[in-house]
Amino acid sequence: MRHAILKTTAVAGLAVLLAACGGGSSAPGGGTTSSGEPSEGAFPDLSGQTISVDAVWTGAEQETFQKLMSDFESKTGAKFNYTSTGDQIATVLGTKVQGGSPPDVAILPQPGLLNQFAKAGNLQPLSDEASAAVDANYSPIWKELGSVDGKAYGVWVDASNKSTVWYNTKEFDNAGISSEPQTWEDFLAAGKTLADAGVKVPVSIGGADGWTLTDWFENVYLRSAGADKYDQLSTHDIKWTDPSVEEALKTLAQLFGDKTLIGDPNRALQVDFPTSVTNTFSANPSSAIVFEGSFVAGVISSSTPSKVGTDAKWFPFPSINGSSPSVVGGGDVAVAFKDTPGAKAFLQYLATPEAAALMVSTGSFTSANKNLDPSAYPDDNSRAVGQAIVDAGDNFRFDMSDLAPPAFGGTKGAGEWKDLQDFLANPNNIQGTMKQLEADAAAAFK
């Protein structure tokens, strides 16, 4: 126990040190606004005040966030009252707001919730200082993602990356593929080479879970249609019968329609996400490539003998028609429900590279903070994942199906999930798939 505490403190201390270095080097970037610079003097003395924080995190993730709170405590003297809401954060916060006692700060796992609470007038806009810190440390898209009707409310505490394609390095070596595919054509060619080398199902697809297929579609769509179209399709401002959707499905059909690349689609439809990963990284793998978010690393470590970073590596989702780096992902956003000095200062703190360095220090999280010193990451893998988010800059987009009404984008066996599963079973039916998607979207978005 004591050992653990010592270790934690040591790591935290080291991280602060690293962050301080990072902060120093980033000073020119944040130079336009004095408050963008992470210096301890920027925060007011808050001794005697208590800041209540609600978030979904428990266990290791909570411990990570605890480091940020401890650091803020030591800087300002404020005390924290952390409550884990579990998965039901929308219900818990909704009840608290109704009851007139919301927390000072909440960390929301879905952008939809920020919208909901902001529109209901429950949130406090960011203070000028916090707003300046966001401007200084994040790509403009992140401020936009935390804004409703032009007012900024949120600070993105972490960001996740769902544009990572994982591969088995042994199979790649065996097939003689020396460089990671950069483009969609390279990617398909690599799959064919793997098939020649005797890999039965070069690209493993977890088709039994519909959300893996929506992630495939979103990544292809963001690259083939561009970020603007992506935004319009997310909000159903353009229809699913749009030519851009057809083009994305055609691109996807180059993969889904090729049995040498994905094997028998009817079998792919029986494979759930964890199995799609173990099929690729088990001792006797039947596949060599699996696409999903950065959380694949966790499945690899927990259920296969492969080691992330040596046996299992990833490359960014390939570029389509010369598209620039783009990332589909998610994140957690901190918002203030109360207009207290503590809440204001804490949000400002969360936007600093210093806070980001603590957040990523355990490897559970990655950050979109562009002034974060990459050395704050504990390992190469999470560093690269985080770097890809920062590199994508304003081409970062939220998972489209998470933004859609659950009936369309989040229901097992229905809506987008089911339609794309049917598409996987029959990739020639592009027109029918588009019509079905549009019909389901129209019903859910009304």
């Binding site: 519909g210 229901t411 599963q421």
Partner: protein, 449 residues
């Protein structure tokens, strides 16, 4: 008819019999005292049963938001919505198949266990699945039906039986390097151009892991030019890649044991098998205009078992797991019924010279039929509300094909649909379906009293 008459009579008698204990020898009591005693039960029944039923019926007449009155619109939608119709069809299959098989199996087990020594142990074994929750059963059977024969026991059995009769091929999944030079033909591959004797044919294959080549395989080499037809079949891929495709590079091994057929005018004239270095010779064939055929038997994919949880078999597969649970339930009830049949009736039949089959058919079955009907009807009620097994066992990609009404009700109201009006309509419809079975069972119970 007789049952009906006694049923009503007893029912009426019971109702009439209630007041006397209260009145006793005294004068008639004020009615509110009786009501007071009834109140707790009435309030509970009203709050927990009556109110939800009435509320559901009212709710089913409104739209998703609950503000607009839509009349019977939700009910109309039930019979036009594609997913709900599939759920309805599946429910019919469930109600017809599951109780019938479970009751029949229960009867067989009950009759057979009556005569064996370890009857109790056997019954306990069959009954045991009843102790397992639907959720756990679903998880277990998902594993049983796993498509990978190395994980799913159902496919392991199917594959072992299949492989007893059909040997798998030597090079499953291998395919030609150049599909234009060696196009597919009846599952195998045949050269596009005729081959002449004297110039060795090159037949490069890929798509097979080099590590799985037979140990005897050696470095491939071109066949010696001779007067006869000859050539080489080799794996045109070496570990680590590199090399030129279509050319035998150092490190590329021959594929021994591949059957090669020489074809002339559409009929096979000779058959050869490749050597360890991949070479084959038809010494007796000379001249030209042969095509070379690598028949399917070389490349047939191993049998991978049945897609139990695929779109076509998913409902029967889930019903089978339901029967695994409920056959024991049926057996225990039927066995109890059997035990209560008077022995002397059976003895009398035997003394009169009836065979065992006749005793079963003419004596046991008629005496047992009330129990069988109760078991059957109870199972019908149980099957109508089946939810968990389907929800857990059907993979997302076939959930729509495996859907049943109770699941559809949940899906449209809570599972993302958020349409409580439509969900209530399905709930009310299910309620209507259960009513006849319930009424039947209640009548029986009353009649038996």
């Amino acid at each position: 008819m007789a049952v009906d008459a006694t049923g009503t009579a007893t029912g009426g008698g019971a109702a009439a019999a209630v007041p006397p204990p209260g009145t006793g020898g005294r004068r008639r009591q004020v009615p509110w005292l009786g009501l007071l005693f009834l109140a707790p039960a009435l309030i509970l029944l009203g709050a927990l049963v009556l109110y939800p039923i009435v509320f559901s019926i009212v709710r089913s007449l409104f739209d998703a938001g609950g503000e607009t009155f839509v009349g019977l619109g939700n009910y109309g939608r039930m019979f036009t919505d594609h997913d709900t119709l599939i759920a309805l069809r599946n429910n019919v299959i469930w109600v017809v198949v599951a109780p019938t098989i479970a009751t029949a199996l229960g009867l067989i087990f009950a009759v057979l266990t009556e005569r064996i020594r370890w009857a109790t142990a056997f019954k306990a074994l069959i009954f045991m699945p009843m102790a397992v929750s639907f959720l756990a059963t679903g998880v277990i059977f998902r594993l049983v039906y796993d498509q990978d024969p190395a994980k799913g026991v159902a496919n392991a059995v199917v594959v072992s039986v299949h492989d007893l009769f059909n040997k798998s091929s030597e090079y499953p999944g291998a395919f030609p390097r150049d599909k234009k030079a060696l196009p597919a033909h009846d599952g195998g591959y045949e050269t596009a151009k005729p081959v002449a004797a004297g110039t060795p044919a090159m037949l490069p294959l890929v798509g097979f892991p080099p590590a799985q080549l037979p140990d005897s395989a050696t470095q491939a080499k071109a066949a010696e030019p001779s007067s006869g037809l000859s050539g080489t079949v080799w794996l045109d891929f070496k570990p680590g890649g590199g090399g030129t495709s279509g050319v035998i590079d150092p490190g590329e091994k021959g594929m021994p044991g591949v059957v090669v057929q020489a074809v002339r005018d559409g009929s096979v004239v000779a058959t050869a098998t490749t050597a360890d270095d991949g070479t084959f010779h038809f010494d007796s064939l000379s001249g030209g205009a042969y095509t070379l055929l690598l028949p399917q038997s070389n490349f047939a994919e191993p049998f991978n078992g049945v897609l139990w949880l695929g779109p076509t078999l998913v409902t029967p597969a889930i019903i089978a797991s339901y029967i695994w649970i409920y056959a024991g339930f049926a057996m225990v009830l039927i066995a109890a019924g059997l035990a209560s049949i008077p022995r002397d009736t059976l003895e009398a039949a035997r003394v009169d010279g009836a065979t065992e089959w006749q005793v079963f058919r003419r004596v046991t079955m008629p005496l047992l039929s009330p129990v069988l009907v109760v078991v059957f009807v109870t199972l019908v009620i149980n099957v109508l509300k089946i939810f968990d097994l389907v929800y857990i066992m059907a993979p997302g990609s076939v959930q729509a094909e495996a859907n049943v009404l109770a699941l559809q009700m949940w899906l449209v109201s809570f599972g993302g649909g958020n349409d409580f009006g439509f969900g209530s309509a399905i709930g009310v419809f299910l309620f209507l379906l259960v009513i006849p079975a319930m009424a039947f069972n209640i009548r029986r119970f009353v009649g038996e009293r």
